[in-house]
Symmetry: C3
C-alpha cells in the first residue's frame, strides 16, 4: 500500500498525525480530495496495524451507528476499544466537567472519539486533550466523519466529488448531516438543489455561508420537478423531536416519501443517499434498486474511520 502514495497524500498524512478531526471545515477542497484518495487505499487494508492501540469511545448520547462503526474500524485494524455508550454510566453523572473526563480518559487510551449533545463539545474535548480527538457529532453542529463517508460514497459511485448536481430533500433546517455535506459539496464545486417545505428551509446563516463559498444553489418545495436533473438525491429524516408543536410535525412529516415512482424519471446513474436511520422517507421498495446507496454509506463509514484512526495515530508510511 505504502509505495505508491502521492506526494500530496504523504504530505496530508504527515499533517494529520496527532491532529484532531472536529469539523469538515478544517479541510481545504484539495485536502478533501486527497483525503478521499487515501480512504480508497484503506479499502484493502486488513492488517492489524493498530495492534496495542486503544480507542476511547465516549458516547454522551447513544449512537449505535457511529459507535459500532468506529469500534469495528478499530477492531478490524487490530486495536481495542474502551468507553461508554450512554451518559448515564459516565462520571458526568457525578458532576465531573468534560475537560476532566477527557484528561482522565486520554490517560487510558491513544485516541478519543466523542459524541455529545452539546454544540462545541468536540472542540472543547480536543482543547482538553493532548491525544487526537475525533468529533463523533456534537449536537446540531458538526459530524465530520459522517460528511466524509457521504463524500466518499459519492466519489465511489460517481467517480468524482465535483461538477455534480446534488439534491437535498427533507429537513434542511435542523439536519446536521445535510448542513455539513451541503457546505463541503459547494466548496468542491457542485451545484446544489435544496428541496424542503417552507418551514424546514435551509437557515439564513447556512445560506450566507453557501454564498460566501461561491456556491451555486437553488431552492424549491417541489421534488418531482428536480429529480430528472440530479446526479445525487440526498434524503434526510424529518425528526419529531425537533418540533415543539406535534401538529407542525404532522403537517410536514409525510411531504416527501421517496419511492420507486419518485426516482423513475431520474437519470440512470442517480444515487439515493440517506444518513440513516430512515423511517418513512424512503420506501423499502427502493432498497433493491441499483440507485440505492444508503446501505453502502454505512459500509463506507468503516473504511473512512479506519483511515482517520490510522492517520491520526500516525500509522502510515
Amino acid at each position: 500500500m505504502t509505495e505508491t502514495w502521492t506526494d500530496a497524500e504523504r504530505e496530508l498524512a504527515n499533517r494529520m498525525r496527532g491532529a484532531d478531526i472536529i469539523s469538515v471545515r478544517q479541510f481545504t477542497a484539495p485536502d478533501l480530495g486527497t483525503l478521499l484518495q487515501i480512504v480508497e487505499r484503506f479499502e484493502t487494508v486488513t492488517s492489524p496495524v493498530l495492534q496495542g492501540k486503544v480507542l476511547g469511545a465516549l458516547f454522551f448520547e447513544p449512537s449505535t451507528r457511529t459507535r459500532l462503526s468506529f469500534e469495528s474500524a478499530m477492531v478490524r485494524l487490530g486495536g481495542g476499544c474502551i468507553g461508554f455508550a450512554d451518559a448515564g454510566i459516565s462520571s458526568a453523572a457525578k458532576g465531573e466537567s468534560l475537560p476532566d473526563t477527557i484528561r482522565i480518559v486520554e490517560s487510558y487510551c491513544d485516541i478519543i472519539v466523542i459524541r455529545h449533545p452539546r454544540e462545541g463539545a468536540g472542540r472543547a474535548a480536543a482543547d482538553a486533550a493532548e491525544k487526537p480527538v475525533i468529533n463523533g457529532g456534537d449536537g446540531s453542529n458538526q459530524h465530520p466523519t459522517q460528511t466524509l463517508l457521504d463524500l466518499y460514497t459519492i466519489r465511489r459511485r460517481m467517480g468524482t466529488v465535483a461538477g455534480l448536481r446534488v439534491g437535498f430533500v427533507g429537513d434542511l433546517k435542523y439536519g446536521r448531516a445535510a448542513h455539513s455535506l451541503i457546505e463541503a459539496l459547494a466548496m468542491l464545486g457542485n451545484e446544489l438543489v435544496l428541496v424542503s417545505p417552507e418551514s424546514l428551509r435551509l437557515p439564513p446563516r447556512q445560506r450566507e455561508d453557501l454564498d460566501a463559498l461561491g456556491g451555486v444553489w437553488s431552492e424549491t418545495p417541489d421534488l418531482a420537478s428536480v429529480v430528472p436533473g440530479l446526479d445525487v438525491l440526498y434524503v434526510t429524516r424529518i425528526q419529531r423531536e425537533r418540533f415543539g408543536d406535534p401538529l407542525d410535525y404532522e403537517r410536514v412529516k409525510d411531504v416527501y416519501q421517496v419511492d420507486e415512482a419518485t426516482i423513475a424519471p431520474s437519470r440512470d446513474g442517480l444515487i439515493v443517499m440517506h444518513p440513516l436511520p430512515r423511517v418513512l422517507e424512503i420506501h423499502p421498495s427502493v432498497d433493491a434498486s441499483p440507485k440505492a446507496a444508503y446501505f453502502e454509506q454505512a459500509a463506507n463509514g468503516v473504511t473512512v474511520r479506519k483511515t482517520l484512526l490510522s492517520l491520526l495515530l500516525g500509522v502510515t508510511p
Copy 2:
C-alpha cells in the same frame, strides 16, 4: 484437530459455512449427533483462528449469560465484538426497522447474534442479512444455542444423547428452554417425563409436536414418584413475569424445590440441569453434589458458541 474429522463432520461443516442458526429444528437427528461431536473437538481449541473477525452482538433485551458467553467465545478465538446490551441504546429507539438495523450492522461485522423480545425476530434478521445470523433467543420461541449446550452437557456427562429418561420439572407452559430441548430429545430417541402443576403443563401445540415426532412421554404433577427412574432432571424457573395475576404465581412458585432430599432416591448417575438463573427452584446445598451439572452448562455454552462461530465463519478444515 483437522486431520481426524469424520466425513460426516466435514460434510456438516461444509453445509454450515455461511449458514444461519435460527432453530434447533433445522438440524436432523444425525446432524445433531455430528454437531455435538464437532463441539467436543473445540474443547481444546485455543488458537486465535478468528483473528480479525468481528461479531455483532445485538441484544434488544438484556441477557448477561448469552451475551457474555458469545463474547467470551469470540475473544477466546482471537476475534472482536461490537454491539449493544440493551435496546435503549440501539437505533430501534429512533424508529428504525429491524431489517435496516441488521443490514447496517452486517456491514460492520462478519457474523451477528441477535436477542430480541419478539417471536420470529431471529428469522427476520437472517432474512435481512447476507452474513450468518445466530438466534440468541427470540421471545418465547427459540434459543437454539441454549438447546445445543444442554444437549452437549448431557452428552459429556452421560456419553450419549439417546435412550435416556429425562425429566422436566417446573414451568413447561412458558419455558422456552424446555420446549426446544424436549423436542430435540424426543427427536433423538429419549423418553420424557414432564412434571408440572396443572396450570403450567406443556401446551397442546407442543404435545402434538411431540406425538408427531413419535416421542415417548408421560405427564405427572408428582416429582417424587419419578425421580428414581430418571437419568437427567431438567429444572426450570417459574417466572413471575409470565403471570397476569400475582396470586396465580404465588400458588405455584414453590411447588417444586429441588434439594438434597429430592434427589437422594435417584440413580447415582443422575444429573440435575437448569438453564439459569435459578432463584428458589434448586437449593444451593445441591451445588456441591456430583449430580449438579448446571454450572457446567454455562461453561459448555462457551465451547458450543466457539464451535458455531467457527463453523458459520468457515474457519475449519
Copy 3:
C-alpha cells in the same frame, strides 16, 4: 524485564499467582513496598502477555474510571474483556444470587473484577470463585486498586512511601478512598494530618485502627495552618448523596476549596492528589501547577492494574 527481579519480588509474585485482591490490608508493609517496585517494572511492559486471556468486568454500579482503567490495562497487554457496566443489564435483575453470577461468569473468563454497592461483596465474590477476583470497590468498604494507585503515585513523585507528612482534607467520614489510604500510609510509617469539618471527622472505628497500627496522626478543621508542613495533600469530594438532610450538605460542601492561594505557602515538593471525579474541591487553576498529581493518579491506575492482572494470572517470570 524478568532477569532483574529481586528475590522478594519473585517471592511475592509467586504468592500472588491465583490470589484475590480484596483489601489492601491483605498486604504487609514490606509486601506493599515490594509490590510498588513491581508496578514500576510494568511501566515499560507493552507486549501482549495476556493474549487469549479474558477479564470479566462486573460493574453492579457504574464506575467509568475504574472500569475503563481495568479494560485499558487488559487491552494494552493483549487480553480481552467481557462484562457489564451497570446492574440493570445483569441477571441480578432476575433475582440471581451473587455467588451464582460469579460462578457462571468465571466459566467465561480467566479473572474477575467486581464493583458492587454492597459492603463485603468483593469477599463474597472471591469466596464463590475459583479464579482470581479483584475487588473494584464494594460500597463504602474497600477499593484496594485505588489505594495502590494512590501509593504508587506518591512513590513516583516523592521517591518513597514512608516518612512523609500527608494531609487529608474533606470528607473523612464516608470517603472510602481516604480510609483505606490513611490506614496503608500509617502502616508504612507516615505522619497523617486529618482536616475536616466536625461533622465529617474520621469515624471512631478508623481512629482506633490507626492507633492500633501505632499511627502518628492529628486532627484539625483548619487547612491553612497545616499546608506549609505537608508533603502530600489528599483532597476528597464531599458527596451530596451521603447526606440525609440537604442542609447539612450545603453547610459543609464549600468549606474546603483548594486553589492556587491555598497551596502557595506549601513546600515546593508538595503534591496535591484527589481520587476524582472532583467538583468544586480543587479549582481548575491548580491543574497547571507542577504540584497537581491527580491526573497522574488516573494514568498510574492503568499501570497498577496491568501489574495486578498479570501477577494474579501468573504471567510473570
